[in-house]
């Protein structure tokens, strides 16, 4: 018996050689066993690549599953809360899935690759749950995280870059659509998806072609301000877009130790993904009960006065001059593009309706000394950043 030894070192993505060449900061962190860069040159510059030109982010470490088999649609439909029958081949759906208590296990994107074949991308690893959720159905679930190299190509010039790369027809690719192209004899899948809230794409290819794709992409992007980015810039942009991050804005229910720390889809602003017209899906009974009796928590997007980011802040209501703590900020950032001080938070219902005024307690440090301030925060309904160019097809040339 030959034994495949476990790799003790951190794993390197198939793009690592190219990233290492660009890297000036040597700031890396772990992402599901892979080395992933915080930033390569300067997080601020990288952020502006997302909003101003084209940013390339290596999302290979993202957990990916391939779901095939005659019952794959039934399976996916029962797994997640939204109606997957509406998601035709060639389309991508953002979805959330729950345990029997209606608590969110994770969110992710589901790619309907072809009739009866899906890819599910999630932040966490769920093989055990995905297998358990297959009872009674004929499906095959395979983890393919390491079998696919993936890049996010995001920003206003991203379309031009892909066009310049020679992807003819990419102009017809609609938001949440996917298309297959040929890249040096290998299939290159392109989806118009992303985590930045901007015009952008995600590219999926066999790892053997990863370096060639990277090289060609950067070649094609030379005149379009293409830039490799790390997680810091991406994090800033996803908060602007109002997207959630597991372990920040919600906790995967199965890994939650303390009672009351998990959340239902309603409690993290994803009620629109729950479709009670479906007769059966995981968590339906509990969610129907919650729908009737009301939720405990509500996710809020906050527009905060001033310019001090409200990371780790408590959220308060103020009545008759008295503050009452009703929740806390889970993600916060200064938005350079909007010039707004923004945050995502969780508050107890009935607080936090759109238009409500809340208060956040901000601590900030300047030259060793700390200052505390109470800042007014308005609950907003829309994402902070949602440009028209994100959806326009064919995309504009910027």
């Amino acid at each position: 018996m030959t034994i495949q030894e476990v790799q003790l070192d951190r794993k390197k993505s198939p793009f690592y050689s190219r990233q290492a060449k660009l890297d000036r900061l040597n700031q890396w962190h772990e992402w599901k066993g892979y080395s992933s860069a915080d930033a390569f040159y300067n997080a601020e510059l990288e952020y502006f690549a997302i909003r101003n030109s084209t940013a390339v982010f290596d999302l290979t470490p993202m957990t990916k599953y391939r779901i095939t088999g005659p019952d794959s649609l039934d399976y996916i439909d029962r797994l997640v809360t939204r109606d997957m029958r509406k998601i035709k081949p060639g389309r991508v759906a953002y979805a959330v899935w729950c345990d029997d208590q209606g608590q969110v296990i994770d969110d992710g994107t589901i790619f309907h690759l072809m009739e009866g074949e899906y890819r599910l991308c999630s932040q966490e690893r769920h093989m055990e749950w995905l297998t358990a959720a297959a009872i009674g159905l004929d499906v095959n679930i395979k983890e393919e995280t390491a079998d696919i190299a993936a890049l996010a190509v995001q920003g206003p010039t991203s379309y031009s870059v892909l066009k310049n790369l020679g992807l003819d027809g990419v102009e017809n690719l609609k938001l949440f659509g996917l298309m297959d192209f040929d890249f040096e004899g290998t299939n290159l899948m392109v989806s118009r998806t992303g985590y930045t809230g901007d015009l952008g794409y995600e590219l999926w290819i066999d790892p053997s072609k990863a370096e060639a794709l990277w090289d060609a992409l950067f070649e094609a992007g030379t005149n379009y301000g293409i830039m490799a980015i790390g997680t810091t810039a991406l994090e800033q942009s996803r908060i602007e877009a109002g997207y959630l991050a597991a372990y920040e804005d919600f906790l995967p229910a199965l890994a939650t130790v303390r009672t009351g720390r998990s959340r239902s889809p309603f409690e993290i602003g994803l009620g629109w993904l729950v479709d009670f017209k479906k007769p059966n899906f995981n968590g339906r009974r509990a969610l129907a009960r919650e729908k009737r009796s009301g939720s405990t928590w509500r996710l809020v997007k906050l527009d905060i006065e001033g310019n001090k980011p409200a990371s780790h802040s408590y959220i308060y209501t103020k009545k008759y001059g008295r503050f009452r703590q009703v929740g806390f900020v889970t993600s916060a950032a200064w938005s350079p593009i909007c010039k707004h001080n923004i945050a995502i938070g969780t508050v107890r219902t009935p607080n936090g309706k759109v238009g409500d005024t809340l208060w956040v307690e901000i601590y900030y440090q300047r030259e060793m000394h700390w200052t505390r301030l109470m800042a007014k925060a308005e609950v907003v309904g829309k994402p902070f950043w949602d440009p028209e160019r994100r959806r326009v097809t064919p995309p504009g040339v910027y």
Binding site: K32, R125, A255
Partner: protein, 538 residues
């Protein structure tokens, strides 16, 4: 003649902890120890040349950090260093590793099953939830559910609130958890035999139960609720061997003005007119004290060291029936060098962890079958560590000390005493099992100390060599430990207290029984409390 405020019987870690907290409160305390060395089962011994053996307990995790801090054990020389990982060697070649790095651990489990790798997250979360529930009670005196005293009602209310805090579904889980077997518990998460075998060991260590016996899921928890510097579930080595724990506590005790006497075994705890009077030593000397605290297990305390006339009959019979069964033995080995384990890659960090040689649930249960039939396991569960990989103080440079905890090993062979040749054969069984995975192991052996329950009882005084001073089963936990009605450290004789691991929360070098008993004694004496509150665990 001098009358002490308190005499603590036995300088094990609980006796010493108790004595230290009493001395800290200003009491005039004498701690007597039958051996010429202290520590009880928390001991470092020099039995061969320059080697130091942790010859009873061998790793540390459960020792409460509150006690560590309150007694300033670091100032008294105690260092606990965490060790990395563990290995299960497989019979047909290969191994399963356990790594402290979260993702490496996930990758390792993925070699066997992606399901199991992901299930480990759920297992950890669920186990952690139960740990947090139990941990909160370690440094608290158990509630007496039949009492209406405000103190007990408060304790019961606390228990209730902690329980209800978990929420409906989790409450069901908790009830199930406390009564199920470790095999059933693991079946709810894992599919791979070797992974289950690896995790099930914690469910039977020190217990005369098999992996399929109800109650063993709790024993697993008992081994998981410890920590090294906040890393829950982590285990570590005490620098200089486990005796360093006892030495540090003894250092604290003496710094508070306590008096320690070695070679002073207690023949009998003396009672006069229903009240404790002091102790009589084996050499005939009598020492008076207002209070006597026994760090010995309850059987040894009440069945061997007291006059039956001084005890209530019901209590006596309950103590007789207290389950404290010999189930484990120990091999302590001096090695001429580091044995090689060819299955492991060169330089593997697993060499710095614990090693095991049983790779299936069936073999785990078969090991127990032998015990039930009145003999030692022919294919035993061995928990082996080589602390000298990271501790330079326990063996000469380049040499090593190996500690092998062995299960199962009965107190008697088919109901009769062990014969010397049987003890040899028991030791050989263990050596042969290890040698299957380490070809040079046998040649490196310089000295072996084989300890069956009998040796452990004779030296450390543990009845039947039971490492926990009594089984950790539901019927003997919390307010039922050691026996119903006597869980609050007070014996049925005025002035007599219990502080050994037979009392809540049980054994495992936690030191909580000693501390909890001290708190009750100080309460009875209307002294101000020196025992720390439990760290908040929210």
């Amino acid at each position: 003649m001098k009358t002490y405020d308190a005499i603590v019987v036995g300088a094990g870690h609980n006796g010493l902890t108790n004595a230290a907290f009493l001395a800290k409160a200003g009491l005039d305390v004498l701690c007597v120890e039958k051996n010429e060395y202290i520590g009880g089962a928390t001991v470092s011994r020099n039995l061969y040349k320059d080697w130091i053996y942790s010859n009873a307990s061998y790793v540390c995790s459960l020792l409460r950090p509150e006690i560590f801090r309150a007694l300033e054990l670091s100032r008294h020389g105690l260092q606990i260093t965490p060790y990395g990982g563990g290995t299960v060697f497989m019979q047909k070649g290969g191994y399963l590793g356990s790594y402290p790095d979260h993702d490496v651990h996930h990758r390792e489990y993925s070699r066997f099953s992606k399901n199991d790798a992901d299930a480990y997250e759920r297992f950890s979360a669920d186990t952690m939830r139960q740990c947090r529930f139990v941990r909160d009670f370690l440094l608290r005196t158990p509630a007496d559910p039949t009492s209406f005293k405000p103190k007990d009602l408060k304790r019961l209310a606390h228990l209730g609130s902690k329980f209800f805090e978990m929420g409906e579904d989790r409450m069901y889980d908790t009830i199930r958890f406390w009564t199920m077997s470790v095999a059933e518990y693991l079946d709810e998460y894992f599919e791979t035999d070797v992974i289950k075998a690896a995790l099930s060991g914690s469910g039977i260590i020190g217990t005369a139960l098999g992996i399929h016996s109800p109650g063993t899921a709790y024993v697993l928890l008992h081994h998981y609720m410890g920590e090294v510097d906040g890393n829950m579930g982590a285990w570590g080595f005490a620098r200089g061997g486990m005796g360093a724990v006892a030495e540090a506590i003894a250092g604290a005790f003496q710094a508070y003005g306590g008096e320690l006497r070695r070679d002073a075994g207690v023949e009998q705890i003396l009672v006069k007119r229903g009240k404790v009077k002091g102790v009589a030593l084996t050499n005939g000397e009598e020492i008076d004290a207002r209070i006597v605290v026994s760090g010995m297990d309850v059987k040894r305390t009440f069945l061997k060291c007291m006059d039956k006339k001084d005890l209530p009959a019901d209590f006596y019979h309950r103590v007789e029936n207290f389950k404290i069964r010999g189930s484990s033995g120990k091999l302590n080995i001096a090695l001429d060098g580091m044995p090689s384990f060819p299955a492991l890659p060169k330089g593997s960090p697993l060499l710095d962890g614990d090693m095991h040689f049983i790779d299936s649930m069936e073999r785990m249960e078969r090991a127990y079958d032998d015990w039930k039939e009145g003999t030692w396991s022919k294919d035993p569960y061995v928990d082996m560590v080589i602390p000298t990989v990271s501790d330079p103080t326990m063996a000469p440079p380049g040499k090593h000390f190996m500690s092998c905890f062995v299960q199962y090993c009965p107190a008697k062979i088919n109901g009769r005493e062990w014969k010397p040749e049987e003890r040899e054969a028991f030791g050989q069984t263990v050596i042969d099992q290890i040698a299957e995975y380490s070809p040079d192991f046998k040649d490196l052996i310089l000295h072996v100390e084989v300890r069956t329950p009998k040796e452990i009882e004779d030296e450390a005084g543990l009845t039947e060599g039971n490492i926990f001073h009594g089984e950790l089963t539901m019927d003997q936990l919390m307010f039922n430990r050691p026996v119903p009605g006597y869980a609050q450290y007070r014996a049925p004789v005025a002035g007599l207290y219990m502080c050994g691991s037979s009392t809540h929360p049980g054994g495992g070098v936690i030191a909580a029984p000693g501390a909890n008993a001290a708190r009750e004694i100080l309460f009875d004496l209307s002294r101000s409390n020196t025992v720390p509150e439990t760290f908040g665990d929210d």
